[in-house]
């Protein structure tokens, strides 16, 4: 049985750990806002426009994260216990929770990551979704958690432990040696990376055909090829070197949004940074509002003299008063606000159709219930679990896809 011990890998102390997690939250918020990175949009576009470009980027993100963390463990730089220590339980609740989450997030118009950066960019609907998520967490804590905990303790359609039990190298090779981790990393990460790249190329080819007029967009007639038959002056073609330096300048000066793949690489590097710095100290992955929706609700109630951690299930056994994710979430909002402010995107936006606010609130409640049932959100569980070399992320991915598909079908009928 592998040792489940957590010892700091580097001896710099807690202030540095908190500061780096805060910086990584800032980077996450900044990059996601600039790249308009949304897990739900990536999945919705599969079912609406049949576009796999953003979904391909997601698979690329999972693959790169798994490759980065896996290689760090396989080369002995980070102990394997730091990779599997925070693997949660796995069971029915992940599939059910992720489906509810996908449905709610697609209704509300954003996953947990995009909800936060859009809220910080002035989208009122996402403020309402955030509030709905807090209420959803409370409903979950009172109504669902005691039952879920019972099934987890008794092992009903659930594992009774996390950690190495859910670690793929241990499940496949019954070992957490460097070789086992390396092989598992390559088996998991390489196909994800190739599939992600393939889906992006496939979508680009499809859209190029549409642009050339060879193929119509589903449900739309083929776009006629115009060429230069209208006698319009053709734009001056810039040399490649000049084009690239202009592109870089525009990105730095926030004149242009980041491309999907640039954002993907930044986010993958971000999770690897946190994985190294937090090793042995804390949950060394990116974790967004999934638990912090509950924590911030707890903070609001504190100001009214109510301590939910004394009186309420889930709040009393699942969350420390404060941890690295608290600062990460706060700084994510600050990063998103700063980038939207500096680029001139920041604006308080209230939807003209006020029904969107109600839908956002209901979607937010479902998101709150879903992420708590699944023991994490699209970032804190799905993306993170790929980097942990676990299998819960795969279950979450399929559950979320089915939830998003249901929401698309429901919205088509509304």
């Amino acid at each position: 049985m592998p040792a489940q011990v957590l010892e700091p890998v580097f001896s710099y102390g807690w202030p540095i750990v908190f500061a780096v997690f805060a910086a990584s939250g800032f980077i996450l918020g900044w990059a996601a806002q600039r790249g308009n990175y949304c897990f739900v949009n990536a999945m919705t576009s599969i079912f609406t426009t049949k576009s796999f470009e953003r979904f391909g980027a997601l698979l690329l993100l999972f693959g790169l994260s798994a490759l980065g963390t896996g290689l760090l463990v396989a080369t002995g730089f980070i102990p394997s216990s730091d990779q599997f220590y925070f693997n949660y339980f796995g069971g029915w609740y992940i599939l059910v929770g992720s489906t509810i989450f996908g449905f709610g997030a697609a209704l509300a118009g954003g996953c947990n990551l995009s909800m936060l950066y859009r809220a910080a960019s002035g989208y009122v609907q996402n403020w309402i979704e955030l509030f709905g998520m807090m209420i959803g967490t409370y409903i979950f804590a009172i109504g669902i958690w005691p039952f879920q905990l019972f099934t987890m303790e008794k092992g009903i359609l659930s594992t009774t432990a996390g950690g190495y039990v859910e670690y793929l190298p241990y499940l496949i090779f019954h070992s957490v040696s460097n070789e086992a981790v390396l092989l598992t990393t390559l088996m998991l990460a390489i196909p994800l990376i190739f599939l992600g790249i393939y889906l992006q190329i496939y979508t680009k080819r499809k859209w190029n055909k549409v642009a050339r007029g060879e193929r119509g967009i589903p449900g739309i007639f083929a776009v006629p090829k115009l060429g230069n038959s209208l006698g319009l002056p053709s734009p001056t073609v810039l040399p490649e070197k000049v084009k690239l330096s202009k592109e870089i300048k525009d990105l730095i000066l926030l004149r242009k949004p980041y491309g999907t793949n640039l954002t993907t690489v930044i986010l993958a590097l971000d999770i690897i940074l946190v994985f190294i710095v937090g090793a042995g100290y804390t949950f060394n992955y990116l974790v967004i509002t999934s638990s912090d929706g509950g924590r911030f609700f707890e903070y609001i109630m504190m100001m009214f003299g109510q301590n939910l951690f004394i009186t309420t299930p889930w709040f009393n056994d699942s969350l420390p008063i404060v941890d690295t994710s608290t600062l990460m979430v706060v700084m994510l909002c600050v990063g998103a606000f700063t980038s939207s402010f500096l680029s001139g995107d920041f604006k308080i936006r209230i939807p003209k159709d006020r029904r969107r606010l109600l839908i956002g609130f209901i979607g937010g409640i479902l998101v709150g219930i879903g992420v708590r049932m699944a023991l994490g959100c699209n970032v804190g569980l799905m993306w993170t679990n790929f980097a942990q070399l676990g299998y819960d992320g795969i279950i979450f991915l399929f559950g979320m896809l089915s939830g998003v598909y249901l929401a698309v079908k429901v919205q088509e009928r509304l």
Partner: protein, 150 residues
Amino acid sequence: MYLRKVLAPLVLSLFAMGWYRFSEVYIVGSDQIALCHGNYAVYVIPAQLDGYLVANLWICYSLVFVGLSMFWYNLVKYVKDKGFLTEGKGSIDLAFPLAIAAEIIALFTIGSSIIGGDMTIRLAGYTCLIACLMWFWYSLVNIIKVRTLA
């Protein structure tokens, strides 16, 4: 549009101060309550809580500094664009670097208990301060030049 640009950085600075104050009062207080109730699932050990507060304090200082700098920058742009300063146009160019220099001095005075003798941080501060003063001198020379030519 201008109101948003001027006010938003101030809101950011106020949020940073509010968040730190909240952490100091409510989070530390709640941790004590959790300890008194023997709830070790939510209790945070002192080393970790101190680490949080120290990092939070520095983040607070940085955000206040960045927020105020953005506020000054946008205020100057606003005043210039509105044409409020037609006669004494140069005074705002002189006041801007001085205001930022004053902010840096205030930041380091407040944070001296944490910085202690850390020369790396102090050197960064001195560099910023000197840059602000050079900026001030540059603006002053520019104004004198423009007035002489006029």
